[in-house]
Every structure is written in C-alpha cells, then in structure tokens.
Symmetry: C2
Subunit: 371 residues, 2 copies
C-alpha cells in the first residue's frame, strides 16, 4: 500500500518521492561538531528530540553525539523514546491534563524523567501522582525570559514555585528552564546577542535568588541551535537543548554565526522530490507541497540549484521557477525545508543516505504522537 521502506543499497535515484532524506556525512559532522563544542565549553548537551522524534537519532546523539539525554515536548514522545531504550528524558514543557500526569508518573519507573512547571496547582497534581512511586520526578521551574509563551516571571515567582517543589512528596527540584525560542531565529549575530544577554541576565538573577533561598539549581537549561554559544559561555547555563543542529533547515541557514559566517552545522535534511509536470514556460511542478514540507518558516530552497526557485506550494505540489527550462519529467530535486521539526513530523521515516545510496532507514518513532 504505502511505498515500501527502501532496502539498504537502493540508489537515491530509485527512491519513491516525496521522501525525507538525511545526508549521513552532514549528519555525522553535526553530531561531532556539537559534541566537541560542548566538551570544550564544559556544558552538557540534552538534545531536543522534538526535531526528529526518532529513537535511532536519539541514540546516536547520546553515544557518538555526547548528549546526556534528550528533551521532548509531549508525553507521548517521552513514552515512545523510553520504550525505544532512551533512559534520560526531559519533557521541556508543562503537562497539566490529569490523564497525562498519570502517564508521566508511570514513566518514572522506566527511566529518569524530568519535567517543567509554571503553576502551583500543577506542582500539587504532579506530587499527588508520584505518591507511592519508587522513583522521583525531577522538576524544573520554567521562567519566561521573553518568549511570551509558557513560564512564570523570573525572580520571586520562580522562587515560590521552586520552594513548593522542594517540599512536595515525590518531586525533586532540579533547576531552571529558561528558553527563548524567538531569539534562535534572529539572523544577525549582534542583534541575537543583545536578545540573549537579557535572557542570561534574568536567568542569572533567578539562580542567585534561588541560591539565597537555599535552592540549588542542578540544571540551568535552555538554548537552541541559534543562540547556544551565548548560553554556553554565560557561566549560568549548564545544559543546552539544541535540536535543529542535527538536521538544520533553510531558516537556520540564514542565521549568522558572526558577520557573514553561517552557523557551523551542515544542512543534512532534505525532501527529495520529482518533477511531475513541465510547462515549458519557465515553470515546472514537483510532487512535494504542504504535506511534505512545512512552510511556517518559509518555502523550501532547492539545494545545489541556484537557477531554480521553489516558488509556490499547494497541498501536494510545488511550483518551481525554472527560467532556463532545464527541468524534465521525473528529474529529482533536493529541497531544503524551511523548518526541520514540523517537516519531519509529516513523514513516516527518515531515509539516511551516503554516496548516492540508502544506508539505513530510521522510523519517525513518535510521529503523530501529539498528546
């Protein structure tokens, strides 16, 4: 029914499209670069698995990639990764629904589980769910450092929640979660630094207030692929939650490390697509649209073909501007998705390739597990 999973050794030219592809050389370079970086910076890496939702990728991040564990956003993602053998998972998010809290509590019997909170009632509910469990649930207070999403205000509100956690049965206060998502995508280095300076200042002050209250932050966590050198060098953060570094995407490709230098990661993720219609008037149509590549951070780029522009997406089609009419029916193109995380979520599997052939296939283990 659905296209069969391709066998090892299948030439890329024979893959059915659209297909989600990872270039293993680029992927491994990203693994290695980040490991070397966190080792020299003296911080931990807790790689964000929301990017890939894959047990196989998580395992590679924790072995070759030097990660101490992974982050996820959803209870079902945590369950899928623990079931696949991942032993250290932080839900870097709030879990407030009673049925989900019970699942999180049950998961502490199978793995180290950490979670974030920003609400007093939620802490009480998590504590009740942990009564009678042999393990503890490690709880971080999330502070809103300018992201405008979840988290309490830095400072005394955070201290109040941390104090409540420290006194709660079944819970252990683990530290602070302080992530600024918007800052990741500020392309200019200097502007990005200014945004993160505020983040670091708020976090540092809250850590200090917690210490004064006798509450030690074992973990001060945050940072993403765009900002992690700032947090890593802050002397405040000790755990980075980068996710996109492993694959990269068109939007992160626009972020500058310094002046006009791109980030030190290679684009490893592609949507392989085929031309299915050629108009001959400077336009062709490929078989990958909204259902193959997310557009929340812009349209895909066509890798290695500066003469082509992915110009318009509909559900199952992409219209390619091809001024020189070079494209022919069934030509393959490698699209760089605008945004990696929601693109991976559209696919059942990641086809990992090297030297023009399939080397392995990774199921998107937690795909569709949005609860």
């Amino acid at each position: 029914m659905a296209t069969a999973t391709p066998l090892r050794g299948t030439p890329i030219t024979e893959l059915d499209t659209p297909a989600l592809i990872v270039d293993l050389d680029a992927f491994e370079a990203n693994l290695d670069h980040m490991r070397a970086y966190v080792e020299q910076a003296g911080v931990r890496l807790r790689a964000h698995a929301k990017t890939h939702k894959s047990v196989d990728v998580a395992k590679l991040q924790m072995t070759r990639g030097g990660a101490c564990g992974v982050c996820v956003q959803k209870t079902a993602e945590a369950e899928a990764l623990v079931a696949g053998g991942i032993s250290d998972v932080m839900i870097s998010n709030q879990v407030t629904a009673p049925a989900k809290i019970a699942r999180v509590a049950a998961l502490t019997e199978k793995a180290r589980v950490l979670i974030c909170v920003d609400d007093s009632e939620n802490i009480a509910a998590l504590s009740r769910a942990m009564v009678g469990r042999s393990a503890s649930l490690e709880v971080l207070v999330e502070i809103d450092v300018g992201n405008g999403r979840c988290g309490v205000k830095p400072g005394k509100d955070a201290v109040a929640l941390a104090t409540q956690i420290a006194a709660a049965d079944g819970l252990r206060f683990a530290g602070l979660q302080a992530y600024q998502g918007h800052a990741q995508h500020i392309y200019d280095h200097a502007e990005r630094k200014i945004a993160v300076d505020t983040v670091i200042a708020q976090t540092a002050q809250t850590v200090e207030m917690l210490q004064e209250a006798g509450l030690n932050c074992v973990i001060v966590a945050g940072a993403g692929t765009g900002t992690h050198p700032f947090e890593a060098g802050s002397g405040v953060y000790n755990e980075l939650q980068c996710g996109s570094y492993i694959f990269m995407d068109a939007d992160y490709g626009r972020v500058r490390e310094k002046d006009d230098v791109p980030l030190p990661f290679q684009n490893a993720l592609f949507v392989l697509t085929s031309i299915m219609s050629v108009a001959g008037d400077g336009r062709a149509v490929c078989d990958a649209g909204h259902k193959a590549a997310s557009i929340d951070c812009g349209l895909p780029l066509v890798s290695g073909r500066e003469d082509l522009i992915y110009n318009d997406a509909s559900d199952e089609h992409g219209v390619i501007k091809d001024p020189d009419n070079t494209l022919r029916l069934n030509d393959q193109l490698w699209l760089i998705p605008g945004h990696c995380d929601p693109t991976v979520n559209l696919h059942e599997e990641i086809i990992a390739v090297r030297n023009g052939k399939v080397e392995t296939v990774w199921p998107v283990s937690a795909r569709g597990m949005g609860c």
Copy 2:
C-alpha cells in the same frame, strides 16, 4: 504508547488533546446539502478524498452523500482507498514515475481507475504499463485554466493529447480535467465569478474543439467548494470535485456565497485543544501548534469564543489572547483550522462526536501516504 483510540461514549471533556474532532451533525448536514445540490443541478459529485484520506468518510460520501466516486492526488491514497473498498477512484493529478505508473496499472484490476495527464511521453508510458491488463485506464487531459500548476494549455494542445490517448492501447479517453484552485479562495462572490467565467470559457472551447475532432468528453471535471455552483450551472462541467465542503475550515468560512452570505456548509472539523499554561496577563497557552493544525491559510480561529484570539503558533503551542483572563488550566477550546486538508494529514484519526460524546473514530487511512 500513543494515546489510545477513545471508546464510543467517551465524553468530549475526557478526550486527550490535541485531538482532531468532527461534529457529526454538521458533517451530515454537509453530506446532505451537497447531495441535494448536485441532484437538482444534474451533475455528478466525485468528492475529493485528499481532504480526509479516510475510507470511512469516502464511503459515507458515496452512500448518503450521493458521490459517484472519489478523487485522490497520490497513488498511495488511491491504493489505500481501493484496499478499503472504494471502487471508483480518480487520481486528479499526474503520475509520471515509472514505479508509480506500474502501481496505477495494477490498481485497474481492482477498481475503476481514472487519471489525468498533461504530457505526451507520460501517455505513452501509461499505455505501455497497461499492455496485457484486462481493464482500461481512463485518462483525462488536464488543462491549465489559470491555476499555474499542472495541465496543458486549453485548445489544440489538449486536443493533441486526447487524440494520442484515444489511439493508445490500454487507455480510454475520458474527458477533461479543468480545475482552478486559486479561484476557490476568492472571498468575494462577484470577483470569484469573474475568475471562473474565464475557466468555463476556456473549458467550453476545448470541449468543442475535441468534439470537432470526434473526441467525446464523458467527463468534464473540476470545481471545488468555493466555485462549484458556477461550474455546475455552466452546462459544460458534469462532474464536481469538491473536497473541503465536508469539513470546511476558517478560510472557507471567509468565502461568501453571495453578498455577505457564507457558503451553505457548516464547519464540522475542529482541533480540540487544552490550556496548559496561564500567564494571567491576558494570555494563555494551548497544546496545539504547527504539528496539530496547518497554518498555510492562516491561524486557527477559536470556535464559539469571540473574546479569544489564537494569536501565535509554534510547533507544539498556541498562544491565546484572552483579554479578560477567563481561561484556566485544562480548559478545552475548539479550534477551527485555517485549512482542513493539511490539518487532517497531521492526525492519525478523526474522532466523530455528537451530543458531547464520541460516536465513532475514523482512521486517516492514507495519512502519510504522500507517494
């Protein structure tokens, strides 16, 4: 692991979120309205299954809903629906990859299969694949009536392809495919009519030229939820391919039937979401973001709550503007997705509800089947 499929009778308030919900009363009203419409208009309905990718919904469209068959966009969707018992499927799209062509040919042994073409080589390839098959593949020529995507120019190019089909072994010339996707979403009735008048004129002229060449169009197909009364009343089209009418969405909610009257279909599709963080400063956060509702036609609306605005989406979160601070942790909201088709594609199942309870659950049979 993943949240278990809810049992019949489960109260909506107990559903795990985010969840894709269909209001059965609204859904059935849409089924009935469209059936009555095509019966009085004297045209066929071939409902587009790209919207729902569900065997169950397709069957309801072909029984209670009066559809003669369904359309799909992908070979794998056709296979999934035929495997589920749908006996009449049009791939309203080009299939050009050799491996996919072989699958389409094989499918003609199991169901009536129709397909669209816009290329001479593709016709030859389809014909070769049909050699030795007992059934015929019914082939429509797609003309580009202003959509700027697939299709040959109306007129003599279409006649040339139709002539080739009629002479090709294993193929049967079935008619014209003439769909203008962009016109569906022109909100103003008069402007939309102007756009479709051109579509109809081009289609009518091509039908006439085909007739002069001795080629009869058994099917003249096209139209969507936004424009179908124009095509139905044209005297040219005889098969409508509406898809979104069955669920509707926020964008189709903005399309006017006439003056300030909305389209005569009810919104039946919702993403049920829960509040997971309350800032208390006129802002709360729900658990449905890009991975639960597509934003290619704008952000979701909050159904029944004019005081609330879904203001910002990230991968797993939606930020809700709540000026009066009415929202509490775990409150449920019913989101109307911006665009139904790619939203359904994000989910494993559609939970069909009535009177506050789950009545049935429809698997998204062809979810992820993008090839």
